[in-house]
Amino acid sequence: MPALRLDAAALPPELDDLRRDVRAFLAEEIAAGRIVPHADNWLAGWDPAFSRRLGERGWIGMTFPREYGGSAAGSLARFVVTEELLAAGAPVAAHWIADRQSGPSLLKFGTEEQRRAYLPGIARGEIGFAIGMSEPDSGSDLASVRTRAERTGGGWRVNGTKVWTSGAHVAHAMIALVRTGPAGESRHEGLTQLIVDLGAPGVRIRPIRLLTGEHHFNEVVLTDVFVPDDRVLGTVGDGWRQVTSELSFERSGPERILSTFPLLAAVAGRLAGRGADAADRTRIGLLVARLWALRRMSLAVAARLAAGDAPATEAAAVKDLGTRFEGALIETVRLLARVEPDLASSDPLAALLAQSVLHGPGFTLRGGTNEILRGVVAKALLPRGEAR
């Protein structure tokens, strides 16, 4: 049997109604001008009011139990909602990290008090989270984090710097991976996840502007920040295992395929309007065919996750192909669109093209570079130790 395995899955038909509801809601939001489709809007579109409207409809925290404010609709229902939001280019950044990652981590590793403190607010779209993993000297190599937490009365004193922290300037809390003990031979020991209140004394947040000047990333400097014991997430020293257990969820979701979908949809409309020749149809058709296949891969991983499995390697392969596709799409659409990219253009196609081009470099970097992901896949393919 091959080392990697996925079986195509279909969504349960009872989710069709949910999909229709989300589609109708988004069409109304766009028609009313409350949201404007944007490429890469799970990074760029921080719109707390929109997140609250989703929360009111029960479309955030769909994997949380009802007692914590969730809808308990399950991960496949969440898959439907998130892919609809992404395909529409809706501004989902304000709740994205909390809904995808921080909430499920709190549910899995958090104390009862932590769950009650955060999950209902996340599900209402009112509490946003940031991820405190990367550091100035620690990118894809997470085990090299240097931010330290030292024991102090009733908690921990934290010092260090986190970077590329999306949304830290607008989020409420950050789950930070910090060193609390010696690294050990594996380098994976002595790491702990802490829930850092981003309003706490000693937290300084400085923008790291994208090449467009947009402010999404931050440097978060922690100077003698006090984190009480009740804000340790999970077990002290178990941070590595906790972080890596989330990877299947983080890696293969529809956001690793659809960041530039609004651009593809826009060019389909342009071709419909101006008339497409055979070469145009072939070009857009190859993109659509590959996207269809990638979506089915993402869905296949989602189905395994929903069944309680953790196909981390398959998820890495999907993220590698999906994020490269997000970039390749731009290169083909440019040739079809024949417009100059312009962020300020009143032509949505020119604006979406500009957003996509300028955000493109991030697709194959965030959440672990594609080179690292392919290394993960190769190591799973090869007999133990052979890839080292």
């Binding site: 892919e83 949809a265 409309g269 058709g285 296949a293 993960v376 090869l382």
Partner: protein, 337 residues
């Protein structure tokens, strides 16, 4: 995949492991074994002599046959000839069959006594020289011409699989009315190739992984070179994509899904072949090495039953029709789409 399908797949895998011999252009022993385990007419209804299985099961079995470079007309028999005959209400005979669509130069005639004859040429008919007969879709009819009723001029695809020219001269044919369309014929052929290709990609990737672990250069196995690891991972990803695409297309059964799957698989095949040979170095490029069984098939199959330009254009036509609002619903439509 449920347990019953998994058991069937494992059985076919075991049969192939014992009997597959990719050096040959036709493997009658393997065919007999596949008939014995009952997979040669999988999707044909039971009352017509088949197993009554769905397309998804059939595609999984074809994937296994692709993984072993099985020299049998399994896709042609199960998905095309068996389908044409059963759909027209005929019992499907045992033995290898093949099928074709009659071009404009093929004439189907009925004489005063009600006997039918077929005259003309059918190009690149898979395994015609070994088949028990050819089922020809001609307009709204299916004509079945048994072995001996036609002349075969031997030809081959890049892998040496028989792709023969069939010459019919007043060939006696059994003719039935048919609701099958040329479009459906093309789609079923494409689905079969997509499934076979997924299997061949698995095999090529598997060979590259094994070779990279064994071959030592500069004092270490190729697998320890990060540049080689990147190739292996990319092959594995493309293989996974083709596999899921073939499975999804078989399960959905829609024209859109099949078109997308064949386009995606044909594109992926080029990448997998290129990287498989790159990892193998010169030895993979020789007739001493088994890699060629899979790469030559992939190079052939990606163009058979429509390549990525043909199916990509079909998908693109749907995408342009759908426009901005309709594109996403097109992509997410399931079996009903």
């Amino acid at each position: 995949m449920n347990d019953i399908v998994q058991d069937l797949v494992d059985t076919v895998d075991a049969v192939c492991a014992r009997h597959a011999d990719p050096e040959r252009d036709w493997n009658p022993r393997l065919w007999d074994e596949l008939e014995r385990v009952g997979v040669t007419l999988l999707p044909v209804p039971e009352e017509r002599g088949g197993a009554g299985a769905d397309l998804a099961t059939t595609a999984e079995v074809l994937r296994v046959l692709g993984r072993h470079a099985a020299a049998v007309p399994a896709a042609e028999t199960a998905l095309l000839a068996g389908w044409l005959l059963a759909e027209a209400g005929a019992d499907v005979p045992s033995g290898p069959l093949t099928a074709a669509v009659a071009g404009p130069d093929v004439a189907l005639r009925e004489d005063a006594g009600g006997a039918w004859t077929l005259t003309g040429t059918l190009p690149r008919v898979p395994w015609a020289r070994h088949a028990e007969g050819v089922a020809v879709l001609a307009g709204g009819r299916v004509a079945f011409v048994p072995r001996g009723g036609y002349e075969v001029e031997e030809g081959a695809n890049l892998a040496g699989e028989p792709r023969d020219t069939v010459r019919l001269q007043d060939a006696a044919a059994r003719v039935l009315a048919s609701a099958a369309t040329e479009k459906a014929f093309r789609e079923r052929g494409a689905l079969g190739r997509a499934a076979l290709m997924a299997g061949a990609m698995e095999a090529a990737t598997g060979l590259a992984v094994r070779y990279a672990g064994e071959r030592v250069q500069f004092g270490r196995p190729l697998a320890r070179f990060q540049a080689v690891q990147q190739h292996l991972a990319e092959m594995a990803g493309e293989t996974l994509l083709a596999t899921v695409a073939a499975q999804a297309a078989a399960a959905d059964g829609t024209g859109f899904a099949v078109a997308a799957a064949k386009a995606a698989a044909s594109e992926a095949a080029g990448t997998v072949c290129r990287l498989a040979h790159q990892v193998h170095g010169a030895i993979g490029f020789t007739d001493e090495h088994g890699l060629r069984h899979f790469t030559t098939r992939l190079w052939a199959w990606r163009d058979e039953c429509g390549n990525e330009a043909e199916w990509g254009e079909a998908v693109g036509a749907r995408a342009v029709d759908a426009g901005t609002e309709g594109l996403w619903p097109l992509i997410t439509a399931g079996a009903d789409g």
